[in-house]
């Protein structure tokens, strides 16, 4: 192990760098407190090129260090990349980092079989389509990469976001960053946005800006994709309000109005309570509300 002047390292040469994001506040605090414990591995060229420890090197520079503990190795470019990948595998890579691995391997001329072997180590299906998608992720704009890693969204949703143009992606990321979201919500929203784009030929982003919360965003999009369903839901809500159902009675309708029947539920602890509920239901029936609800299920 040697201590090397950071000036002797070409930090712009990132051919072995797979980490994303590059800056890590926890690492900065740690380095500030106790310095760099684990040496970086450098390729024996002049200037040196970082094989593993890119984040540590950049954080050291950020912390004002001028020297860094290093191990200098003489290996081929391909072996150096494999060092970098294997050094990081144990910590679990995010999608962008996996994309970087595959993209770098392709760039350095690894065979498809070698790439597939690495993909298995990265818990990826060794398919050509996945290779294509991950390299596309590696080539994406930084806002996209930052969004998918910050939100930790799954590959399926990443793909759905990639169907949009870079301008559309930027708008979508702005909207989804401005409200509280969960992964399942992001999935739903991306599916709805894709459907709006395909059905309507484009998305009116102005109408989606400044939505107060996730539910409102979903409501607007759902109305565009499922106008009939939304109108049926609204009508059901209106009739149920007229019914003024007490908490011990419920009328359940298929969420997609497919089933040609409804379920009526009564919860009663005593015979008298059951009688009361039945009487309330009879009243609702006599007023024609049940008929109106059934009509909604009949198309």
């Amino acid at each position: 192990m040697k201590t090397i002047d950071i000036d002797h390292i070409n930090i712009n040469d990132r051919r072995f760098c797979i980490s994303y994001p590059m800056y890590d506040s926890t690492l900065l605090s740690s380095i500030n407190k106790i310095g760099i414990i684990q040496p970086v591995i450098l390729l024996n060229t002049m200037p040196y090129v970082v094989i593993t420890g890119f984040k540590r090197t950049l954080t050291a520079i950020q912390a004002g260090f001028t020297k860094i503990p290093s191990v200098i190795v003489d290996v081929s470019e391909k072996d150096a990349l494999l060092y970098a990948i294997h050094d990081n595998i144990k910590r679990g890579l995010n999608i962008v980092e996996k994309g970087h691995c595959i993209e770098r391997m392709l760039h350095m001329g690894f065979s498809l079989t070698e790439i597939h072997e690495t993909m298995i180590l990265l818990s990826l299906d060794p398919h050509e389509k996945i290779v294509e998608r991950l390299t596309a992720v590696a080539d994406m704009e930084d806002t996209f990469k930052a969004f998918i890693t910050t939100k930790g969204i799954a590959m399926k949703q990443v793909e759905m976001l990639m169907y949009f143009s870079s301008e559309e992606r930027s708008e979508i990321i702005d909207i989804l960053t401005s409200i509280h979201t969960t992964e399942s919500f992001i999935r739903e929203i991306l599916e709805l946005l894709n459907l709006v784009k395909i059905k309507k030929g484009g998305i009116d982003f102005d109408s989606l800006k400044n939505v107060p919360d996730a539910q409102e965003l979903k409501k607007i999009l759902k109305k565009l994709v499922n106008p009939i369903l939304v109108s049926l839901e609204e009508e059901l809500k209106r009739i149920k309000l007229l019914c003024a159902l007490s908490p011990d009675i419920d009328i359940k309708v298929d969420p997609f109005f497919e089933k040609g029947y409804i379920d009526m539920l009564i919860r009663a602890k005593t015979e008298d309570k059951a009688k009361d509920a039945i009487e309330k239901l009879r009243n609702i029936l006599n007023k024609g509300y049940i008929r109106s609800i059934l009509e909604l299920t009949r198309g």
Partner: protein
Amino acid sequence: MNLQEVRVEEAKGNIVRDCPGTRYHICCGYKTIDLIEGCIMSCSYCILKAYINNPCIKINKDIPYIISQVEHMIDAETNHTLRFGTGELSDSLALDRKLGLNRPLIEFFGEKKRALLELKSKWAYITHLAPYLNPYTVISFSVAPQNIISKEEKRTSPLYKRLLAARKAQELGCFVGLHFDPVIIYEGFEKDYEYLIDDIGRILDLKKVIWVSMGLLRFPPRLLDRFIEEGRKNLLYGEFVRGEDGKYRYIKQERIKVYRMLHDLLKAREENLFIYLCMEREDIWQKVTGLTVEDNKTLIGFFDKRIENLFGGNI
């Protein structure tokens, strides 16, 4: 047709079986013969893409074994006229000129005279079968407006060729089946379907059309992802909901409207046309046809009656 990409494998197992149908929907009791699994047509909406996770086409060439299975089923059935088809997991005609799998089946059904074989296709070539065709083979074509064929069924025969092949089958003494399946709701689809039915009425003898099926586009969730990825505007134009069987279907209100439109257009051309709905609910049947079809058995009864009307005592 270019067959270079077709890989042939021997398939084994249960080749003749009941059509799987779908939960909570009415099924016609069809029997399927899986001569071929997989299809070279590559229609954009094809559910085989979701169900068959294998790029190669499997072919079962053990025809005597298949015929013995079919015969066993026919002999065991005393109440109904069985209908068999080879178009469930593939196209019945697309590879037949090369493989010649249908001929022995056609001959078997012609000699047996107890059940019907349906060859369901989008590939309009039956010339090689002409010498062997008999009334116990139904030649069926899936029909759609040419607009849809051009965009979503790119490797299939154009509509006019399908209809001409169907007419040829009628001239050769066969009954013909028509399958409006999948019916697709897209911008301006109403007019296109009207023209399609006009073409059918002009080219075919509707009295020799044994059955017409109607099924609106439906697909498993996996295909929705594919349609989105491919930006399939035609396929995603309508309003979809998840059915009780988990598949996406057009919302009920739309299904009823479209079925009624097609039903009325067809009936206006031939009142006695036998029209059935593929994988639909009882209430849709009622609204579209006015018929009460409570279960699969009722629908199978309708088929028996239709076949009896057309074949009399000859089946």
